[in-house]
């Protein structure tokens, strides 16, 4: 039982990462009907940015030499801002011109895939194969609750994810920009008539999605400090699947899907040989999709004549 609960805690942490990435997929998809396959790599870029920022801030011989607490507090917003710049750049440089030309939707998806490849391989090419390690930004504390151990880092990750969920939920349901985002997914052509420029909504969406992915990257790097250029690809594909299982286009779906995937993965790895993780995780997700073809929160597809 304790073992099980301990695994649940681990699953919550992994679920937070998946959820934070899945959000970016879901937001962009909701607005543009575009699977932004580069998003997983944006997450990776976030982790690397966090590495450079925090190392720079902490460097004793550098001009800052901040304390760890201060460095962490500064790293979070800086990572988020810089990562969102990456996301917005992708949209500006690669996706928008293509969509303007009225290219087939899938060509934009392929472009996204290519952007992802450039990010991960470009990273490897520029930084080389030597692995980077994020400096510790937090004094480690371990709490024992009953028989399970929780580190302050895990708590921090999960709380951050939950906080992000509520903030995003608020933005999407309560603010003018959020309503515009939802409106775009209904009718792309009516929105400009309402006096809201489509481009601004799209950029806003990319900012939201990428900054959240950046935060995810930072948190991931804090939990698993050794960075790898391909970490975004594997995690990203899985997060995308999580977003779809939750019902792509829905913020709640991204969270539920992310946590669900994490629970399945962690439990499979805990009770079965860990090489079966992908097999079981994806089979279960396929079964869910079989049962609910548009995901947990997705609205059923209706064809009209």
């Amino acid at each position: 039982m304790e073992f099980f609960l301990q695994q649940c805690v681990n699953a919550l942490q992994w679920g937070s990462f998946y959820a934070l990435i899945a959000l970016g997929y879901t937001l962009v998809y909701g607005v543009l009907r575009l699977i932004n396959f580069a998003h997983g790599d944006v997450f990776m870029v976030g982790a690397y940015l966090a590495f450079f920022i925090s190392t720079g801030l902490l460097a004793p011989e550098g001009m800052f030499g901040f304390s760890r607490e201060l460095a962490l507090i500064l790293t979070i917003p800086l990572t988020m801002i810089l990562t969102s710049l990456v996301g917005v750049t992708l949209e500006r440089v690669a996706y928008r011109p293509l969509m303007r030309k009225g290219a087939h939707r899938l060509y934009v998806v392929i472009t996204a895939l290519m952007c992802g490849l450039i990010l991960e391989n470009g990273n490897l090419a520029l930084l080389g194969a030597s692995r980077r390690t994020l400096p510790e930004l937090m004094d480690k504390a371990v709490y024992h609750i009953g028989g399970i151990t929780v580190t302050n880092l895990k708590l921090f990750v999960v709380l951050a994810a939950i906080l992000v969920f509520f903030i995003l939920h608020f933005i999407v349901t309560r603010t003018r920009m959020g309503m515009a985002m939802r409106a775009v997914s209904w009718d792309k052509f009516a929105l400009p008539l309402m006096g809201i420029p489509l481009d601004r909504v799209v950029v806003f969406t990319f900012v939201l999605g990428s900054s959240v992915a950046g935060l995810g990257g930072l948190l991931f790097a804090m939990s698993y400090p050794v960075l790898d250029p391909y970490m975004g690809a594997t995690t990203g594909w899985k997060a995308f699947i999580a977003a779809v299982v939750g019902g792509i286009g829905d913020i709640r779906g991204a969270f539920v899907g992310g946590f669900l995937l994490a629970i399945v993965e962690v439990m499979v790895a805990a009770f079965l040989p860990s090489t079966y993780r992908d097999l079981y995780a994806f089979s279960i997700l396929l079964l869910i999709l079989w049962h609910r073809p548009t995901g947990i929160f997705g609205k059923p597809l209706t064809a009209k004549i």
């Binding site: 392929i110 895939l113 290519m114 490849l117 792509i248 994806f282």
Partner: protein
Amino acid sequence: MQRYAINILLCVAAVVLIVLAQTETLDKYVLNIIMLIGINCIFAVSLNLVNGYMGEFSCGHGGFMCVGAYVGSLLSVAFFTDSKLFGAALFAPELAPFLFPLVLFGAMLAAALAGLIVALPSFHTRDDYLAIITIAANYIIISIIENIDAIGGSRGFSGMKKTVNAMSDLIDLPWMLIWTLIGVFVCVVVIRRLMTSTYGKGVSAVCQNEVAAEMMGVNTNHVKIMAFMVSSGLGGLAGVLYAHVYGYVNAQSFNLLKSTEGLVMVYLGGMGSITGVLMAAVAFTLLVELLRFIIPGLNTVFHDLNLLPASYQLDQIWTWVIIPLTLILLMQFRPEGFLGNRELTHVFPRLKRWITLK
């Protein structure tokens, strides 16, 4: 006679290739690239049936290639070689050249059956949901194979070279080149014949207006199953050829990156254009190989010009930066791929005089 000019030309080209390979005028490296081009042609043209003609978004074609590669390899090892796994050879190794089509066929059949996994959910879901089903299928297939220890698990599987050697022992010919050329021919003919028939046009009808297709009497579920199975079956053909050309398979060679290569070739060539996709497959494979030489060259040039710090070397990883970058640029200029949904004969109507594709 004139109408068959191009067909004859292609036959002659194939024979010349085989003769060149036989006389070892082409070195092994070039020969391998030619076979890889052939395999990529099969891989891309088969994917084009689902992603181009049917307009679905299948991202897991590598998975079917994987099934074909493994099943084909196992059959080939069981049939023609003595192995620890299957014991003595099932047939005399002298039969290898004649029974090898059985191996190809078995691999195609197995891959086609795997295609069913994806075809069935496609009744209810379309594009993006189907995309993830195919991605998941790709993961699942690889994961299953990696967990079967008897066939090598994540270490991979080998032993197919013996089959190829058995063929050469009997008659000394560049067998894998021949089989690859036959494979490309079969693949193109099957897709071409399918898509020019009223039966196969149902695939385009599903793409262009599924509701109308169903209402006008097209059994859309049947069409989807057919298209997915043909596509994955031919993908399996690419896999089994790949396995025999290299003599070794590993499930991870068929991961999502492989599937992505397929997508690249299809969308680069133009959705629903066989000739376009063939051109893209050739161009793509050649580009990857050329970069092997270009990058070290660039490295030297840049260092000579002092454009790069001495400590930094341009290495092969730049291939996978340059290729996506090229593609992104190409798509900005030709968002519909090389040929869009048209064939070469539509773009150059004069070609029609020289060609009869039936």
